[in-house]
């Protein structure tokens, strides 16, 4: 991935490329490729990459900008001084080679070839004496190259940063034995009442009597009485009333007893007339 392409063996080449192209194309044996319609009879001299390595070589480029940067850097030239004619020339040679070798070529490479050719032709046009930046046909290309180069460098810098899995190992220790509590769900009273409201909306009016019959104080007392009866088989009738509660409390208790009787939830027991009245759960 970070190999330097120009370190490749340069002794081999021409024949190999001719052979490769002969195998893969119908071109006459003496002709290597057609560049822009013109036949190429000789290999460009500044290409020295064995064809089987070419594919690998091209894989190392991340696109046309990357290839252009490589061509520029190889000559130790500042991007600002890009020798456009020369670079265009070399770039197109590479493209041609790729086409010849029938390597799959991303469309972006061809678009760049056209862009380069266009810039070059604009440079060749007769022009005014001085040239400022806006007029320099290379300006946009140079900007793109620089922009790409800084992120290419940033990617390299990022890969040099210490990172997990390679340079950094998390230090940890076993947790102690834990009995993790499962928290119980929380309920707001408001939430509960909204659920109730929903039920009321849903059921028809006829069913309301199921709920509406008695005030809650009576319902509460009913449960309380049943509760007391659970621990004792019998309760004296008068034990169900407390003077402290006053008149209202007595009424509540009395209605609660009546409701319980009506629902056959309790029974009144009197062994003989005038004997004390007891209540017990209905059996």
């Amino acid at each position: 991935m970070e190999q330097e392409p120009n370190k490749m063996d340069n002794s081999v080449i021409p024949e190999a490329i001719v052979n490769a192209s002969a195998e893969s194309t119908a071109l006459p044996a003496s002709m290597i490729a057609k560049v822009l319609g013109a036949p190429i009879m000789e290999l460009p001299q500044d290409l020295y990459i064995p064809p089987d390595a070419l594919e690998v070589f091209l894989d190392t480029f991340e696109g046309p900008l990357d290839l252009l940067l490589y061509l520029i850097k190889r000559q130790n030239i500042d991007i600002l001084d890009i020798p456009l004619a020369k670079i265009t020339h070399q770039y197109i040679e590479y493209i041609e080679l790729m086409v010849t070798l029938r390597l799959e070529l991303a469309a972006e490479y061809l678009v760049m070839a056209a862009t380069l050719a266009e810039i070059k032709s604009r440079l060749l046009l007769p022009r005014a004496d001085s040239l400022d930046e806006e007029d320099d046909p290379r300006a946009e290309l140079i900007r793109r190259l620089q922009e790409y180069e800084r992120y290419k460098q940033a990617a390299h810098d990022l890969s040099e940063l210490p990172r997990l899995e390679r340079d950094i190992y998390i230090a940890h220790s076993e947790p102690p034995n834990l009995k993790v509590d499962r928290p119980l769900p929380k309920v707001e009273l408001q939430e509960l009442l909204l659920a109730f409201k929903d039920v009321l909306k849903r059921i028809d009016l006829r069913a309301h009597h199921f709920i509406e019959r008695e005030p809650l104080s009576i319902r509460e007392r009913m449960t309380e009485i049943l509760d007391r009866l659970r621990s004792k088989e019998f309760l004296k009738f008068e034990q169900l009333f407390t003077v402290k509660e006053g008149r209202a409390g007595v009424v509540v208790a009395f209605i609660a007893i009546l409701e319980l009787l009506k629902g056959s939830l309790i029974e009144l027991v009197q062994t003989e007339p005038l004997a004390p009245i007891h209540i017990r759960t209905a059996s």
């Binding site: 940890h172 947790p175 759960t281």
Partner: protein, 207 residues
């Protein structure tokens, strides 16, 4: 300590901390190239030094069946366990409806709740409510099958901060809840969505 052993100690400390499993002394030895490999005895010395260094700290170096490992001291379990606590789940609508009907209609049998809600009451809900001690069986109705009569408990009142059931709003008041309710309801729905995404123990309608 001999300065030459310092890197050995640091390497072993770091290795024990970075390892996914306890390390045996042999496993520690093979971390070193052969020419720099310390003696087993040195490693044992280093381990006992590391052990001593844990005194008064939050972690300890323990030897277990498969080797040595660092672990957090048991004393700190009450604090550490909070890191694994889950967010409380939420109760389902069915759960809340069952509870509120028991509260307002007690003592009440399951059959009556089913009649009002129009659907069967899940046993799981009754069980959860009983386990939380929010409801209890107050008796049995004297009809065939002797169905249990359900009512709410003091714990239920305490949880909702009520002194008695009569502090619950009347039906008329409940119907007025609407205006204030809409906002809360919306908020609850939002929360439910949120919880639905984050919580793994979602209590569903079946509860």
């Amino acid at each position: 300590m001999n300065p030459e052993t310092l890197p050995v100690k640091n390497i072993i400390e770091a290795a024990l901390m970075a390892a996914e499993n306890p390390l045996t002394i042999n496993q520690m030895l093979v971390l070193f190239e052969e020419e720099n490999r310390p003696e087993g005895k040195l490693v044992r010395d280093v381990l006992s030094e590391l052990q001593t260094e844990c005194e008064g700290r939050g972690i300890e170096l323990k030897e277990v069946a498969s080797g040595f490992r660092y672990q957090a001291k048991q004393d700190y379990a009450p604090w550490l366990k909070k890191m694994w606590e889950e967010r409380p789940p939420r109760y389902s609508r069915a759960f809340l409806e069952t509870l509120v009907l028991i509260a307002y209609r007690q003592p009440v049998t399951r059959a009556v709740i089913e009649e009002i809600r129009g659907v069967a009451v899940s046993s799981h809900i009754i069980k959860t409510l009983s386990e939380r001690e929010w409801i209890k069986v107050g008796g049995h109705r004297d009809v065939p099958g002797k169905p249990a009569l359900l009512g709410t408990t003091k714990k239920f009142l305490d949880y909702f901060n009520l002194k008695s059931l009569s502090e619950l709003p009347t039906l008329a008041e409940i119907k007025d809840l609407e205006s204030k309710g809409n906002e809360l309801e919306k908020q609850l729905q939002l929360e439910e969505q949120e919880v639905g995404q984050n919580s793994e123990i979602e209590i569903e309608g079946s509860v």
